[in-house]
């Protein structure tokens, strides 16, 4: 009971922040930052499930984001699909690919898994960059308008483009967070966390380790894919960078900075790493040094990540 109430509290706080924050927004730019945080937060929530719960590291999840993004770019053009359907198609495709490659890849452990997923991510971004006639190559590809905003307008809900995306991605993040929180304290979530600590013990109590790992992998791929699709639709333009190695690393960094096993940590990590570069622009040339420094400091003083370390601190006080 105690756990489930803390689950609702997390959701409530998150929803409140999403709802209240706009009152302090001086311009559309802040809505954009907000939606970027939500989009990243969604992908990171998926990684919390994979890395934080199941303990399986992936350095290639941007690959799934790329698949989701390019589905929204290409499916409307080549298959005439509505962007929303393209998003679903991308999700299904990511899930299918994750399921296919997950079987062999997840037999690997630790860094070996990391390098295998890294290879996958690089393959995806390479295909996207090199198959220029189809994907537009490194220069990127246009993405059609989702059209939902227009639809909302007709029913009298008039939002600016930035506001719409803020709300839309915010809803996705809330849903993603809700699911992840549910999972954490469910039988499946326990099985995942158990196999993280000891695969052999998890097996002996009857956990089908292979299947659960695969489920977590597919689930996190779905999160990443949705996040990629949302980004593409929001930007109406996408380049292979979305699938790139650096983006994968960025996602993992967000996951760990926020607190690998913590669902609210995902949002915190995404927020930190999305906002920092914006804040640090005032430092001009020192921007990168300070960014690196902050990452190191967070890990030194909050080794288990922002949210777990801070909440431990708060609990210590009371």
């Amino acid at each position: 009971m105690r756990l489930s109430s803390s689950k609702h509290l997390t959701l409530l706080v998150l929803a409140a922040i999403i709802l209240i924050a706009p009152f302090g927004f001086p311009s559309n730019f802040y809505y954009r930052i907000g939606s970027l945080i939500f989009v990243n937060g969604l992908a990171v929530t998926g990684l919390v499930i994979l890395i934080g719960f199941a303990g399986q590291i992936s350095l290639g999840h941007a690959g799934f984001a790329g698949i989701g993004a390019y589905a929204c770019a290409l499916a409307p053009q080549y298959l005439g699909l509505h962007p929303a359907l393209a998003m679903l198609l991308g999700t299904a495709l990511s899930a299918a690919i994750a399921w296919l490659i997950g079987r062999p890849i997840l037999r690997l452990q630790g860094y070996y898994l990391a390098v295998a997923t890294l290879g996958f991510g690089i393959l995806v971004s390479m295909v996207l960059a090199n198959e220029a006639p189809i994907t537009g190559g490194p220069d990127g590809h246009e993405v059609p308008e989702l059209g939902l905003r227009k639809l909302l307008e007709t029913i009298g809900l008039d939002l600016s483009n930035a506001q719409f995306w803020y709300a839309f991605t915010g809803l996705f993040l809330l849903a993603g967070t809700w699911l992840a929180l549910n999972l954490h304290d469910s039988p499946s979530g326990r099985a995942l966390r158990a196999l993280h600590d000891s695969e052999i013990a998890a097996r002996t109590v009857g956990v089908d380790v292979t299947r659960y790992k695969l489920s977590a992998f597919v689930l996190s791929a779905v999160y990443a894919s949705l996040s990629g699709s949302l980004l593409a639709l929001m930007n109406k333009f996408i380049t292979p960078d979305a699938a790139g190695f650096l983006h994968s690393i960025e996602l993992v960094t967000m996951t760990v900075l926020g607190g690998a096993g913590s669902v609210p940590g995902a949002v915190a990590g995404a927020a930190l790493l999305t906002m920092l570069p914006q804040v640090l622009t005032v430092l001009q040339d020192y921007e990168h040094m300070i960014l690196g420094l902050i990452m190191m400091l967070v890990m030194i003083f909050m080794p288990s990540g922002l949210v777990p370390s801070l909440s431990r601190l708060l609990r210590g006080r009371t």
């Binding site: 499946s188 052999i200 689930l219």
Partner: protein, 262 residues
Amino acid sequence: MPLLRVEGLGIDFGGLRAVDNVGFQVEPGEIVSVIGPNGAGKTTLFNMISGAYQPARGAVSLDGEIVTGMVPHLLARRGLSRTFQNLQIFQKMTVLENVMVGCHLQERASLLADLFSTPASRKRSAETRAAALKLLERVGLDCAADKEASSLSYGALKRLEIARALALEPRILLLDEPAAGCNAVETEEIDHLVADVAKSGVAILLVEHDMKLVMRISNHIVVLDRGEKIAEGRPGEVSRDPKVIEAYLGVQPKEAGGHALG
């Protein structure tokens, strides 16, 4: 029909015959102990029976079904459960959650149901929580339920493993040195616990160096030395067997101290 039957089981590591041609059987409700000097192959035998190692030779059958080298989670579904000599605790989970994972087979449901936290999934979680709490009480860890497992002392962790293994509601339970790290009084508690479990019809296979415990509760003892079975029988017979005394108990078991005198 015996619940567990082991025949001609063997495995090698490099050039070493860690276990060779070992066979015995366990009936429901029976406590069979496997004893033998360090490195005799007891843990390895457990690892083969429970699917952690693939045996090179021989067969294991559970309730008549051949389960040789079957993956552990399928064995778990058939009612086989174990503890580990080298503790395998879910360190980052709470003590209670550790035991709840032990209930995995009863509580598992589709991933989707869990993601959406369906009422059925929540209900199952609540049930396992209650069951797990009861088990913790049984091993005396109920007061530590919400602690992180990594914060328990060694002896407490041993008991936590037993609770987790019991959570599976096994038909056969493999215990690898459950009393190691427990003092005489605590050992006696484990003794009662094991006897209790056996009484409810669960077959128990026990590895233990505490001879007092072994002699007291075993129905049957298998003695291994250098991977081979050197003796088998009732506690009384085995403890008088000169081969066993020489290889394992020491010339004058009564004076040897050790757990025997606890």
